[in-house]
Amino acid sequence: MSLATFDLSPLRRADRWHPAELAFWLLPVAAYLVFPDNLVLLTQIAITALFCLSLDLILGYAGIVSLGHAAFFGFGAYAAGLLAANGIGDPLAGLAVAALASAALGFVTSFLVLRGSDLTRLMVTLGIAMMLYEVANKLTDLTGGVDGLQGIEMTPLLGRFSFDLYGKTAYWYAVAVLFLLFWAARRLVHSPFGLSLKGIRLNVARMPAIGAPVNARLSAIYTIGAAYAGIAGALLAQTTQFVALDVLSFNRSAELMLILVLGGSGSLYGAVIGTIVFMSAHHVLSDMNPEYWQFWLGALLVLVVLFARDGVMGSVRRLSHAAGGRRKGER
């Protein structure tokens, strides 16, 4: 093969939108029409999907394991909640403040997290989240402690769409923010920065030898991931007009890890689809059996990890490869 005939398109096309992706983003519209009475649940799914996306950026792409990602979610939730409870009820201003606050927390803690191995990182992220939980628990004057933060009042979105009783505005608001940030994350993972994150995950020891400042890159993505999580937390605070202490709980961090593994880490759609599958299953199973629903969820997880490596998205990839192979065989 010569330079003149070399085909660059596989690299150039990597970031193009696939038709299946466009179809995927019609799902929120379909869900709205099919389940008009479940908008609260659907809004929760959109928010959790964004939260899961933020973990995917740092874990799936950069390989930083975290069992304390709720720290940033909760920090953002309290930041937005406190802002609105103190008279600044503009939703977008709340998102911005939450993003900045969580990003700052992410940046500062990144230096602690990036020291050491995976196990150390698990412990450090866990520890930071636990400390934050107890701080929020203790500062009852500010956060309401276990009673939760109340008195959040939102002004209409863009000065026009007020948050209605049926949750329509809340739903479209959450979906729009999810989509925009998904789009930005999609650009990021296809950029040189995103490629270098994959390089770090695949072979961290080689990266300095090609001149890449590994810790600076990891610190940057950790900060971005924290900002995403903070925005997700802010969305929850704004759409429910309440912040419960459990936004910072270990359970939330651990469940998020579960969702990402279920969907397939290292794929942006894995994060979103994992959330849809997990929360739908949660909803259906707990309806059927309010006491023992976790049994079936546990069974689902074990099956996924054993038989569908890389989660739902891994299976989708393998199936489409197999189908592609068969098509080639027919020719």
């Binding site: 950029s191 040189p192 490629l195 090609i210 001149g211």
Partner: protein
């Protein structure tokens, strides 16, 4: 004399074990310099000290007249020092073109750009393609690294180093694990590098060393035994005794 890379009394101890013992090495600019020595002589440790992969216990590393002893690996790379690894350290799930483009990105300083896609950074992509062409790797450019034979992977190891446009290139047994026929081809690629690139080579195959190098340093027990032209080294009785033995007599 212009030196590309020097060490001054470089030492490295691992606990009580001295892996590098008071090494003062001078590598001339443009040299094809080989570093030889029996197994366990501390060759790879020395390379790791030169590149900043390890921190020395004592001594200094000087790159093109600048003391880089305190600089990290990626900072030395930015100053023109690149290396390959004895055992492949590649990006298994990336394609060959992605891997090399990523390396070029870093050299061009666009590695942290986060908005425009990789393929839109034309300068980096074009350069990566040209590099793959020069190493005759274009036909596997879109293949994932893990799908390639070991010999080809060794070439990618070198491509990643060359993407740094190094002034000084450290090759740690580049032909290790490569079939003889392919290793010749590999060394042709290395020999074809521009003369102004200084090369420090670690290699076990004495045939290759004596064909390739114009200077040889012999490392024994972590210390520098001697150095000189291939002729001098080949006729040095000390070297014969500790290392070469039959390889030269035969």
């Amino acid at each position: 004399m212009d030196y590309a890379l020097q060490t001054r009394n470089l030492a490295k101890n691992f606990g009580g074990f001295t892996a590098t013992n008071n090494v003062s090495l001078n590598i001339e600019a443009g040299a094809r310099h080989a570093l030889i020595g029996p197994n366990g002589a501390g060759k790879t440790t020395l390379i790791n000290l030169l590149t900043g992969f390890l921190e020395p216990t004592a001594g200094r590393v000087i790159l093109q007249g600048e003391d880089v002893t305190r600089l990290g690996q990626h900072q030395r790379v930015k100053r023109g020092l690149a290396r390959t690894f004895q055992i492949n350290r590649l990006f298994a799930d990336l394609t060959v073109l992605e891997s090399v483009t990523m390396a070029v990105n870093e050299r061009l300083g666009v590695g942290a750009r986060f908005w425009k896609p990789v393929g839109a950074h034309h300068q980096a992509v074009d350069e990566a393609v040209a590099l793959l062409d020069s190493l005759r790797l274009l036909d596997v450019a879109h293949a994932t690294t893990r799908s390639l034979a070991y010999g080809k992977q060794r070439l990618i190891e070198i491509a990643l180093a060359l993407a740094m446009k190094p002034r000084v290139l450290l090759l740690d047994e580049p032909a290790a694990g490569v079939p003889t026929t392919e290793s010749r081809e590999l060394f042709e690629s290395i020999a074809a590098l521009p003369r102004d690139v200084t090369i420090l080579l670690i290699e076990h195959d004495m045939d290759l060393v004596f064909r390739f190098a114009d200077r040889i340093s012999v490392l024994v027990g972590g210390a520098l035994l001697t150095h000189g032209t291939p002729e001098v080294i080949a006729s040095d009785p000390k070297v014969r005794e500790v290392y070469l033995g039959e390889a030269i007599c035969a």
